[in-house]
Amino acid sequence: MTDAAQDTFDPSLIRVPEIGSAPIGSAAEICLTELWESAPGWRGWLSTVDHKTIGMRYLVTAFIFLLMGGVEALIMRLQLARPDQTLLTPEQYSQLFTMHGITMIFLYSLPILSGFSNYLWPLMLGSRDMAFPRLNALSYWIFLFAGIFLYASFPLGEAPNAGWFNYVPFAGLEYNTGPNIDVYALGMVLLGISTTVGAINFIVTLFRMRAPGMSIGRVPILVWGTLTAAVANVFAVPSVSLAFFLLWLDRQMGTHFFDVLNGGKPLLWQHLFWMFGHPWVYAIVLPAMGIVSDALPTFCRRPLVGYSAVALSTMATMLLGFGVWIHHMFATGLPALAMSFFGATSLVISIPSGVAVFAWIATIWLGRPVFNTPFLFFAGFVILFVIGGLSGVMTAAVPLDLQLNETYFIVAHLHYVLLGINVFPVVGGIYYWFPKFFGRMMNETLGKWSFWVMFIGFNLGFFPMHVAGLLGMPRRIYTYAPHMGWSTVNMVTSVGSFVFAAGILIFMVNMLVSLKRGVPATSNPWDAPTLEWAMPSPPPVYNFAVIPFIASRHPLWEDRLDEGAGRSSLDQGYLLMDGREMIGTTPLDAIPDVILKMPEDSYTPFFLGLFSALGFVGLLLHWQDFTVLMVLACSLSLMVWMWPRKALVQRVPDIKYDKGVAHG
């Protein structure tokens, strides 16, 4: 973000952006639309870097993966509904539970939240785009290609089959000779690139792209959640990428990192995997908790209780989240002292979660709740969050975990956490922001039906799993004998899972119907306080015609909320229309300090993503020449991407340059 221009500071080079207003239909507004619009047709489709388009693509793609993972789960539930069923072979069952885990954890739960954040961040922060729009596009394309890559071997019956945790030596070449694990290993390294560049983009966006006046204490909680998750991912993802890369080397290059006969250590895999795995769990729930913290107050008609406490607890959770990975490994024979430490940390981590729960309940208590569909999802979420958190306390207790570990109790716990804390806020969030996304309201009647069917189906399906776990049912068994005493709970679980699926179906019908026939939405149909509701629904391509000045946490509620004398200015602000421009602000206080030249649409992210994915295909199939060719193609794409361009240098017409810099 910096360049030489800043080092040789010369006041005469500063261009002070014009302040004004640009109402819809004005010449300035039309000019802005032309500047920010993507080309029509397939060219714009491939080259767009608009965060809203990318965010929507993330949402749609991740939702499709949710449906795929869901269908896999339903097939497994058919197999397990009764004892001694033979619907699936053991190998098919292994591939299904592995792909279900990979899909839900890697291809659905983080990407869907990236979708929300990508779409909403600039709107919430008063910006016209993310900090690195092209990197954003790259992040999406690689995610998409990695998802396709991971699924490519499924139709051939060679999908990953060692569980999403993929423990060696079972995942090693000796016990798993097919391409299954290579697909998983390479796919994860590829996906890691997407996650990492996406995370960096979020971090820089938060610290540099906020509207003037939106100091760090005024950003919505969703932003805190995503920021925390992004920082965690920057530290956690290298661990798993490394693990999968080492595994691939072991399998294809004959190294011995995990090879017991040659001094390799199977436990190394578990450590690398869970050092990533546990922070990841928080990365896929904290932004979702942020969705609730931001949207719930709208329906309670009052601000969130304890904004600072909730923001701090978000970060505290993540920090502690890096010190609990051993609780996935209590059964590996570690010394009791080490386990005591990690067990105690795992108990302590529920304290910051408690802060959030009490903040939500207090918000409802002190507010005047309006029982719209999103409110139902958020209130239902609180119940599921509490159940998931409390069962988490059980699994944190080391001796108890030595019994619970690898039983259905854990399956129940993790589904309460991942469905309860991720899927319910996500669906609630879609109900909440659907009017902003598409300019139409979703149907309330269908909405309430979808909530109750999902909520009842979910609890019917997943609560009995706790019981199955206490009855000793191990995870990942493809069938069980009738005398084990698990028949009833499994039947109830299978029925519940189909009821839950029906709820999802109602939700999808509601989306499709509302997309066509929904009541047109005003700019702020829920009377919400945050900035994204200040613009028309759906938002114009440039987001903000003028860059607003922000004076509080709730810019749209200032008249009704005594938050101090300051008033945000939403209609008057920086015009910034010399090409695609945005104001850069200081990290903490959001004082404007630079004009940022934003890049125009570009094909390079698509091609860089495509060529890297093809390079991984080459590695998988041992096409060495092809791989080398793809590496060269990637380099070429990068050169085109990085090629210096005059349009990205800040210029005041003909005379002087100011300190604005090229980036992107």
């Binding site: 190998e91 309940i361 609180v382 509490v386 306390v393 009855l471 005398h483």
Partner: protein
């Protein structure tokens, strides 16, 4: 069945000898789930954990009820507002967070201490183990090696562990291939068996009986069918069993045809002490007939099941290392006759 102390437990089976012939499903019909550790634990390595579980569940259920009631109350109670457009003050309500978090922290602290005390109790036995054995996980069965100072009393068996009741037993855990986990839930928590490492687990049964165990780390297609049994017996009964197991097989001469088929077809993997069969890839069958279960816990050890297993292993347990043997009827009966002598 003859349950000595109470009627509810698969784990409590007074007379082991009488049980040997009873097929497992019949035995467990209308009984509790044989892996139900949450209500049934029978030794000092699992009992404190069971009590911890009860206390934790009780506390957590109460907390859940309180929080749910608070939430429901918060949603349903009358909300007054003088001005319907007013949005309240942002700084209200912090007391909720202070009190709620404060109480939760105290409860958690107490729970953490109780947890650590329990961990300390179950981590190590208070007395020196009376017996040491090594259990090695294989895809998908368990090799059991009994240690003894007297080499002639060391022996190898599979899938069935006998222990003297009321005495701590040290189990060393190894793996021959991938990671497995040794879990006999009514006696102790689980411990992984990791290639290249020797882990330890101790078990002790207070009550005579048969305790089911199960692999709990996903280890391949037949992970579901990797069971074992722990038979806790009175000291003298255990000694009798131990003496019998440490002897080589006493094979009669009239089963030579069956023995020859075994040596030709089975000895590459299976061993029978006292014969030329020394295969080490599959369960030692020296005293096959003394075992309650075969096929890694999948089937009860009846002559019919044994024949089914030999000829249709791949249908009963797809992917198992045991092939479905193609044998003539005469060969099968000869082989059965031979196997039935392995007392």
């Amino acid at each position: 069945m003859n349950s000595s102390k109470s009627g509810f437990s698969y784990g409590i089976a007074g007379n082991y000898a009488a049980l040997a012939a009873v097929p497992v499903p019949a035995m467990a019909e209308n009984e509790v789930a044989p892996l139900n550790y949450f209500l049934h634990s029978y030794g000092p390595a699992s009992m404190p954990t069971m009590h911890l579980g009860w206390v934790f569940v009780a506390i957590l259920v109460v907390i859940f009820i309180i929080i749910s009631l608070l939430l429901i109350w918060a949603v349903l109670h009358k909300h007054f507002a003088e001005d319907p457009r007013s949005m309240g003050r942002e700084d209200q309500g912090m007391l909720w967070i202070y009190i709620g978090t404060g109480i939760s922290t105290c409860i958690l602290f107490a729970m953490a201490i109780y947890m650590l005390v329990t961990l300390n109790k179950v981590a190590k036995p208070t007395r020196a183990p009376a017996l040491t054995m090594t259990v090695t996980g294989y895809d998908w069965w368990w090799k059991v090696e009994y240690e003894d100072n007297d080499p002639s009393r060391r022996f190898v068996t599979a899938n069935e562990i006998h222990i003297p009741v009321g005495q701590p037993v040290l189990v060393k855990l190894k793996s021959a291939d991938v990671i497995h986990a040794f879990w006999v839930p009514m006696l102790a928590g689980k411990t992984q068996m990791i290639p290249g490492l020797t882990n330890q687990q101790w078990i002790e049964a207070d009550v005579e009986g048969v305790y089911l165990g199960q692999c709990t780390q996903y280890c391949g297609v037949q992970h579901a069918h990797m069971g074992l049994e722990v038979v806790a017996q009175k000291e003298d009964e255990f000694r009798i069993w131990q003496d019998a197991q440490s002897k080589a097989a006493a094979t009669a001469t009239d089963v030579n045809t069956g023995q020859k088929i075994f040596l030709d077809q089975c000895a590459g993997c299976h061993a029978i002490r006292g014969t030329e069969a020394v295969g080490a890839h599959a369960p030692d069958l020296t005293h096959l007939k003394s075992r309650r279960l075969i096929a890694g816990g999948l089937l009860t050890n009846t002559p019919d099941h044994l024949v089914q297993w030999i000829t249709h292993a791949q249908e009963l347990k797809p992917g198992a290392r045991m092939p479905s043997m193609v044998l003539t009827a005469a060969e099968i009966s000869a082989l059965s006759a031979f196997l039935s002598t392995l007392n």
